[in-house]
Subunit: 490 residues, 2 copies
């Protein structure tokens, strides 16, 4: 069964192999759109459940806005339309008809103003905020939407970049910039902590350069992760929109002094791309490795025989684990060999596999295999539930620690251009180098080396970047403005 190519041989094929063999998703005939299969979708459901709870605890409410955006709205914010118009699905008609025994578009059912399938919802939401906001008493408004969006990307890859994808988009409105910036940073922290505490991914927090920021934002903040092939993946963004959309849609409020002012906005989102991040942060040559806290199946039990003694133990263990909110799968398919099952659950990244056979009954033990270390050992049946709960927690900690070590070992401070060039070209990881602050330099490095600025890192990251007055830009040799993080990226 396992035809998984090794990461070293071809990382990209390894990635596609995992998606197929672990049953996460498959390509569809619809250009650039994937089908999220039950196992892959259930990871997304777990992500949704946890984040939704965090959004609500920080005072947000869910709502739902139309999928279709009138072309005229979409064009109101200049840099926004500039950023999205080149890759959007356009609805022009609303009917099909029969013609010469085939079904064709009915030209009599043409729309006057075409609709765009939302690539993101700022325009339709700010058009609505205009109706919702009159006075300071209506502020803040803190909305989140779980939705599908569509960006007609030329090159697509499952989870990382698809024509349609699932995400959440937060949209908030505030009476002043301080509160809006606080919100922007708060939601970045929600993402950062979600990465650390649930996905076991050590994100780096930072701010995007002018060139990399969101089309329509004043400031874009990001959480960036390093994949096992040394490429960076942007995992979530949080935007301070300033008054851009308020001005484009004329959204004003009466302040306490009874004066009209434009409203301040934020937006922030993460998507099914996070599943790509999990695959490429933790996976190994045997398959997927899922963090226990978001694994749809945390423990799989494989009985080697079908007899009363074994079944009793399996059922008892299952019910004890369920009582502790552990999700368990009993794999009792009798038409498959155990070896086949081991490989399958290994590929699917289930954190703990338990095997129980005749010998275990005699010894009153269970055989346990932890996926993160691929290690095998026996535990006593008597206090197995307690041990297994502890083990899940250890695995969660261990894979975070490993990912952090990997990132640390693949992060380099470089101030020599040859070294920089070499490290970027070889996808060595995160390269921290001084930069003169100009878009010109940024674009030249992108063009010549495929290296992009992932972010200007925050100071309170678990990585320390010290700027020095004598720092010279790695490319132009001009006075450095900031040390920034470069990498090749997805």
């Amino acid at each position: 069964m396992s035809n998984l190519i090794s990461q070293e041989e071809n990382f990209s094929e390894w990635y596609n192999g995992i998606i197929q063999l672990a049953d996460l998703a498959e390509n569809s005939d619809v250009r650039g759109c994937m089908i999220l299969k039950p196992y892959g979708y259930s990871i997304w459901e777990n992500i949704q459940k946890i984040l939704d709870d965090k959004f609500k605890k920080t005072g947000h409410q869910n709502a739902y806005f139309p999928l279709f955006i009138p072309k005229s709205y979409f064009c109101k914010e200049a840099s926004h339309v500039e950023g999205f118009a080149k890759e959007c699905a356009v609805i022009t008609h609303y009917r099909l008809k029969n013609k010469d025994n085939s079904i064709v578009v009915d030209e009599n059912a043409k729309l006057e103003d075409e609709y765009i399938v939302r690539p993101t919802s700022e325009t339709i939401i700010w058009n609505t905020f205009k109706k919702w906001i009159q006075s300071y008493r209506d502020l803040p408004i803190k909305i989140n939407q779980w939705a599908n969006v569509c960006r007609w990307e030329m090159r697509t890859r499952p989870f990382l970049r698809t024509s349609e994808f699932l995400w959440q988009e937060g949209h908030t409105a505030h009476s002043n910039i301080e509160e809006a910036r606080k919100e922007t940073l708060q939601m970045l922290d929600v993402y950062y902590n979600f990465g650390k505490d649930y996905l076991a991914i050590p994100f780096i927090k930072g701010i995007k350069t002018e060139n990399e920021k969101f089309a329509g934002a004043e400031e874009t903040y990001t959480v960036e992760a390093l994949m096992k092939d040394g490429k960076a993946l942007q995992c979530g963004t949080s935007h301070l929109l300033g008054q851009n959309f308020a001005k484009a849609f004329d959204v004003k409020y009466l302040n306490k002094d009874n004066k009209l002012e434009y409203v301040w906005g934020t937006s922030w989102g993460v998507s099914t791309r996070l599943i790509g991040a999990i695959i490429m942060t933790h996976g190994d040559d045997k398959g997927l490795i899922l963090p226990p806290k978001i694994a749809p199946i945390q423990i799989v039990i494989i009985p080697l025989d079908n007899n009363e003694q074994i079944n009793n133990i399996v059922n008892k263990l299952n019910s004890d684990l369920l009582d502790n909110n552990i999700s368990v799968k009993i794999d009792d398919r009798d038409y498959l060999r155990p070896g086949f099952k081991f490989t399958e659950w290994e590929l699917k990244g289930v954190p703990i596999r338990i095997v129980i056979g005749k010998k275990d009954i005699e010894n009153k033990t269970l055989e346990v295999i932890r996926r993160d270390e691929n290690s095998k050992f026996s535990i006593s049946i008597d206090n197995s539930t307690e041990i297994l709960i502890k083990l899940l927690s250890d695995i969660q900690d261990n894979i975070y620690k490993k990912a952090l070590e990997f990132r640390q070992n693949h992060t380099f401070e470089v101030d020599n251009y040859n070294d920089f060039k070499d490290k970027i070209s070889n996808k060595s990881g995160f390269i921290i180098s001084p930069w003169d602050g100009t878009t010109e330099t940024e674009l030249k490095i992108k063009e010549e080396l495929q290296g992009t600025i992932r972010c200007i890192p925050f100071e309170n990251n678990d990585l320390t970047v010290e700027n020095n007055i004598n720092d010279k830009c790695i490319y132009s040799q001009k006075q450095s403005k900031n040390k920034v993080i470069f990498a090749q990226n997805y």
Copy 2:
């Protein structure tokens, strides 16, 4: 604030008034699409949570399929395309461009095979099932999808019929018709019981006529409800697809005898229309009345003063209720008069309002208003939590009882055509009459009286319909095939 027109004066305006004044939804500029506001959306979230759990407990898994359906798939099942082609959003292009300083569709970015925005997903799912199913061991497959769908309806009404709406669609594949029919009926029962136990709506279960069945199904089962204006609302359907989609997409499996057979299918769905059903089943002239089990706010507490004594009691009550998983809102907005707040929460249909003022402190009581009866009484503070929990349960039972009584009082067995005509024209409710079983008769009654056959009711409904050998069709006077339920409908 309350400008709600009475149900008697104009039911349709009353309905629209509730949606606006209770802050459930609003119209958007996108043709026939509404914006689900936080309060309205949170009702949908509660519906989702409960149903999702029931789907999983009956062995279904969630997945996600593309929003876009290639026109060619869509055309593979003849009656399916016939049913949906007249009202679908068509994507023809994937780019906009600048031209003469305005943004227009880029004619160089035209799709070869147009995409349809899914009106339902049978075609794309059966195209996928073909890849998932080889042998009997792959069956059954039991999938559910939470999604947005699009039907370009000519006349739209919020929640009842919108161009885009939110729903769930179950899709299953089986090795034989018995199992498929069992699934179809099981899911109908899930809907029926959800209506009874959560929405407090007494559905009638039945089977649709040939004319009213789903485009592509062999048999369509339905749950129908009676609204307070005497019109029927179809609230959920469950379809036995037979082998229609299996044949259209060539989905076969190897049976135990190693022979290839076509797979059997079902599909079933409910949508945000259920919120319309709640409004029109329970609402009164003062506004919405929400069943406690799906109310986003079950109890609202309105303190009449802001002082330590009152605040202490409010906070204690709040935390006691939260401990019992009751959702509570404390309305302490100091810039609004209590009368305004009462009207607002009444409009929003919160099951219980609690008012607490100086006199209550002295008497150690709380003033309680139950929304269903609009009755006011005092309860002792000491055992208030217990009383309130019991009260929520009483309200849930009471509104179901009232809705059932309403339906019973508006259900008539009629065998005289003049009486039938009169009752249908006056929207008197469910009219049970003998029918000759022909589509011809069905369509004539629809044309002449706007009465449609809602269903051929099951025998195990809480309404008994007895067929008699001498029954004559209400319209044609021919031998009756079945007594069926007629009504005007949404």
